[in-house]
Symmetry: none
Subunit: 221 residues, 2 copies
DNA sequence: TCAACAATCAGGATTTTATGCATGCCTACT
DNA sequence: AGTAGGCATGCATAAAATCCTGATTGTTGA
């Protein structure tokens, strides 16, 4: 179950979003000012934050910037109509999406779902799916609790696949991203590494799906 | 052209919205009470419904709830000022957006456009029509929730059809775009792939309409 | 009804991927 | 230095999956 933090000074808005979010099955937590939000974000882990720009004390951007110093929890900004220019500003701070007030709660929930789908499993510095775990910081792969012995290339390949899970990756894309744009090796090279990687993933080898005539796709979910 | 149903008991309101909607190029239909609206919604397909809460017979929520039993046509609710609490009630019923009276017709039209844009099938990287869903990024096709197993050609063909939905595509056009300008294969080749594709689409095979002497057209709506 | 066109079918041809093995490079250790 | 071992790569072959074709059957519209 995903945890959402809703930050807005208007009680009506908080309640509205909250209701929809609970209805969608999320665990909700609210804050009405920037300081409280920052404190909550520091002490607890949320899966996503819905953040109003205009807050009584510090503004939403500051909260976001502060958050970014330690975590990369996804952020959706709520901006009042006519604050469009903030959009550019926001991306520098690391905002994931924008919704302009007055908004449709349904649309907001759709965006939340979209972002969560994109970031689920890949929570910052680790990926986990059933018995498969990848520690990005340590470059360690666990298969059913046991360390799997991946070679550098195998790890790089797996890493790229996971980072783009659910997306059809062409052979070209894989090769140029894992090997480098200047690599002109044999096409079979990729096959071979996929094979080795699959072998190492044991029962999870099926997560790497072959797309004939296209490439591969990593499927977790 | 999108079809709108306007439901309101006040004739003045209906006319006002209607005028703007026609001006924006929508096809408009009106109802002045809940029963008529429900009947219309059942017998015909609209792209969006603008629904007043206060109606002479059943209220807007009931109409919406009834509608939701069979369709997911987007709904914009019109509520009189001071009925804010209804907002919270609305989510249970599946309302997409709210507009408080008195409203600016321009704003209403903007919201209509926003919702239509968001719900009109091809929303960026996915296509959805009833139980048929195509995830373009992942090259995955879902038929009634289940993954369909398309071959590369089948997928390419479907993709091209969807990207050009509503447009009559000649055989030549299809072949040169899906196979390549230099392909001089048999005409049966296209037939065969259409057949296989239809088979994979199951109950949605009818979306691919045969145009005798011309080619095919993908129809979603 | 007839002619034109589309749908269907099955199997051989073709394309693409998987696999196993050999090679050569690089690093670490002796 | 020399050497062993690990790793990336390339190739040959095996195994699939997918495509295409031509004959045949079914359907449509004038």
């Amino acid at each position: 179950m995903h945890k959402i933090l809703i930050v807005d000074d208007e009680e009506k808005i908080r309640t509205l979003i909250s209701k929809y979010a609970v209805f969608e099955g999320y665990e909700v937590c609210c804050a009405e000012d920037g300081m409280t939000a920052t404190e909550l974000l520091r002490s607890r882990d949320f899966d996503i934050v819905i953040l109003d720009i205009m807050l009584p004390d510090v503004d939403g951007f500051t909260v976001c910037r502060e958050l970014r110093k330690t975590k990369k929890t996804p952020v959706i900004m709520l901006s009042a109509r006519g604050e469009e220019y903030d959009r550019l500003h926001g991306f520098e701070v690391g905002v994931d999406d924008y919704v302009v007030k007055p908004f449709s709660p349904k649309e907001l929930m759709m965006r939340v779902a979209a972002i969560l789908k994109r970031t689920s499993n890949v929570s910052g510095d680790a990926f986990e799916y059933e018995g498969l775990k990848v520690d990005f910081a340590g470059r360690i792969v666990y298969v059913d609790g046991k360390k799997a012995d991946l070679t550098p290339k195998e790890y790089d390949l797996l890493f790229y696949l996971i980072k783009n899970k659910g997306i059809a990756l062409t052979r070209e894309k894989l090769i140029s991203n894992v090997w480098g744009y200047d690599f002109f090796g044999d096409d079979r090279t990729l096959d071979t590494h996929i094979k080795l990687l699959r072998k190492n993933l044991g029962s999870y080898s099926g997560l790497i799906v072959t797309l004939r005539g296209v490439g591969y796709r990593f499927e977790a979910e």
